[in-house]
């Protein structure tokens, strides 16, 4: 029963992690660098959702849309204004630039909202107990939202012309350019969708807890671990990686004290990079 409870907890946590992890891996697939500014966009999304929910009184689901939109728009702007110039200097420089960007944006949020913890305007509910397994209604709602968003994204990538363009650029940028696909436009769409997902993920985490300017920074390592384990550049891989990290962290409690939880993500990265450098579902080892 204990193992089952840990697996359920891990699946819930992993599903939420998967949303921003998809964003991280999508940017890597198309723009070929790891965008650590995802952390600050999670924070921006969480606070945009807070404004929508608490200041404007919108329900949580509508506020999630607001979180996606604002984080996505700022993602496009920050990429155009800051990171685009870095990309000419190579992926390592751009990744480092994204760390600087995330610190700047996080501090901007801190400047506007302050450091204190904030909570969404949501009633709190007791867990449901099903056959001895406890599940939080809020976690189930978050799980459902995350699954719907991921399904919508997969449908977008599989069935729309824009989605196919994104996949084409990710798969072979040169061939995509020969076919007339506008790489700049695709880059903007990827930035919008990926950072929108980051914002959504930030708010989903906040719905279950509280938010502060460090909400993205606190989870970026887990998200990075999820993307690497699943295979950087593979969107299904990000989902699998997030579930592996989420469930792995929980199951580690059977043998480790909770103080070593984060080590699980790093151990997973180490193992994957040693035995399968391209990740569980990655096509290539970049």
């Amino acid at each position: 029963m204990e193992v089952l409870q840990l697996i359920v907890n891990g699946l819930m946590a992993g599903t939420i992690l998967a949303v921003p992890a998809i964003g991280l891996t999508a940017i890597f697939a198309v723009l070929r660098f790891t965008n650590f500014a995802l952390a600050s966009h999670m924070t921006i999304g969480a606070f945009a959702g807070y404004v929508a929910n608490v200041t404007f009184g919108l329900p949580a689901v509508a506020s999630l849309g607001f979180a996606f939109l604002i984080a996505g728009l700022i993602g496009v702007l920050s990429d155009e204004i800051v990171l685009k110039a870095f990309r000419r200097a190579g992926f390592i420089t751009t990744a480092i630039g994204s760390i600087a960007l995330t610190i700047a944006l996080e501090n901007l949020v801190r400047f506007i909202f302050g450091n204190q913890l904030r909570g969404y305007n949501l009633p709190i509910q007791r867990d449901w107990v099903i056959s001895g397994i406890r599940i939080s209604p809020q976690q189930v709602e978050n799980f459902v939202v995350a699954v719907i968003v991921m399904a919508a994204l997969f449908a977008f990538l599989a069935f729309t012309r824009t989605g196919k363009s994104m996949r084409a650029v990710a798969d072979n940028p040169m061939l995509a350019a020969i076919k007339g696909i506008n790489a700049n436009a695709v880059a903007r769409i990827v930035s919008f969708v990926a950072m929108g997902l980051a914002g959504l993920g930030g708010m989903l985490i906040g719905l279950d807890t509280t938010i502060d300017p460090l909400i993205g920074f606190k989870t970026i390592l887990q998200i990075f671990a999820a993307a690497v384990v699943g295979g950087l550049g593979s969107i299904p891989g990000a989902v699998v990686g997030a579930l592996v990290v989420g469930v792995g962290e929980e199951l580690s409690l059977l043998v480790l004290t909770p103080a070593y939880r984060t080590a699980v993500g790093f151990i997973a990265i180490l193992l994957v990079l040693t035995f399968r450098p391209r990740g569980i579902l990655g096509q290539r080892a970049y």
């Binding site: 204990e2 409870q5 840990l6 907890n9 946590a13 939420i16 204190q116 913890l117 904030r118 909570g119 009633p123 709190i124 509910q125 007791r126 867990d127 406890r134 939080s136 809020q138 985490i205 279950d208 807890t209 509280t210 502060d212 460090l214 606190k218 989870t219 929980e250 409690l253 004290t257 909770p258 103080a259 070593y260 939880r261 984060t262």
Partner: protein, 281 residues
């Protein structure tokens, strides 16, 4: 670093290990040690009728010392620590950690973290249907933090903090000087540092870390005339007399390694989401 650079340090940290470092006298603290705090907390918990205490706390230098001191306080009076879980900070949920802690079947929960993680703990405990009384450090659940969570989540939460000596003349003088009606323990400690620094410099007639180290105990303990502010102390020192500074946070008497000898503790409880004064011990 402080002894290597000969910089005198006054601090608010409570971890036992701080003053056990080889600081060579360049450090004093006005915050009670983990031992003083955990002993006081243990006595408070016993006074509430608890026998089986479950501890869930953040990974920090004070985690294990706190548990040991709490255990040492509870045991002689029939209490015990039935579970102890140390968790990692910055996690969005502590559901599994709480489950581990509850396996000891506690009748009282001692949380030992900071505000962001304690809020997550309280929410997760409420969701799990745990309605036991819970103790938290006062800095982990200040009123602004309580305002972020529904009132039912913070029901049966008790907090404790090293208290300023609110009946002392130094506290009243500090309150007037700062312009706050009730400065908390940390503000009181900070004002004491300023007063002690000024008085030590006046006593030593020198501004240096070494002079501070050699003279601080000459102005804040001993048989000199009791003074309650830097202004009063400077006047008495000017008359060539010895002084004993009594601070807003407490007597400011230090052991050889720089720990304070004792202080008072203030306990609050949360009623409908608001902190209310319970007692001063």
């Amino acid at each position: 670093m402080c002894w290597e650079s000969k910089t005198f340090l006054m601090t608010v940290s409570g971890a036992d290990s701080i003053t056990l470092l080889p600081h060579q006298g360049f450090l004093v603290r006005t915050q009670p040690t983990s031992k003083l705090q955990a002993t006081a907390h243990g006595e408070f918990i016993l006074s509430q009728g608890a026998k089986r205490v479950g501890i869930i706390g953040i990974q920090a230098p004070f985690a294990l010392p706190n548990k040991e001191h709490l255990e040492n306080t509870l045991k002689p009076k029939g209490g015990e620590v039935v579970s102890h879980v140390i968790y990692e900070k910055d996690k969005p949920t502590y559901r599994s950690e709480i489950d581990q802690m509850m396996r000891g079947r506690p009748d009282y929960i001692y949380t030992n973290g900071y505000a962001p993680d304690t809020v997550v703990l309280l929410r997760d405990m409420y969701r799990a249907g745990i309605d036991l009384p819970k103790f938290a450090q006062s800095y982990a659940v200040p009123q602004p933090t309580l305002d972020t969570i529904p009132a039912e989540v913070s029901a049966k939460v008790f907090t404790g903090q090293p208290s300023a000596d609110i009946e002392s003349p130094a506290y009243k003088l500090a309150a007037d000087r700062i312009g706050e009606k009730e400065p908390d323990g940390y503000v009181s400690q900070a004002t004491d540092w300023a007063s002690m620094a000024v008085l030590t410099i006046a006593k030593a007639k020198e501004v240096s870390g070494v002079a501070m180290k050699d003279n601080i105990r000459k102005i804040c303990q001993g048989s000199g005339q009791k003074v309650y502010s830097a202004v009063e102390g400077l006047k008495v020192l000017g008359e060539g007399k010895e002084i004993n500074y009594e601070g807003a946070s407490g007597p400011c008497d230090f052991t050889d390694i720089g720990d304070i000898l004792g202080c008072r503790f203030r306990y609050m409880h949360v009623v409908k989401g608001k902190l209310e004064f319970l007692k001063l011990v």
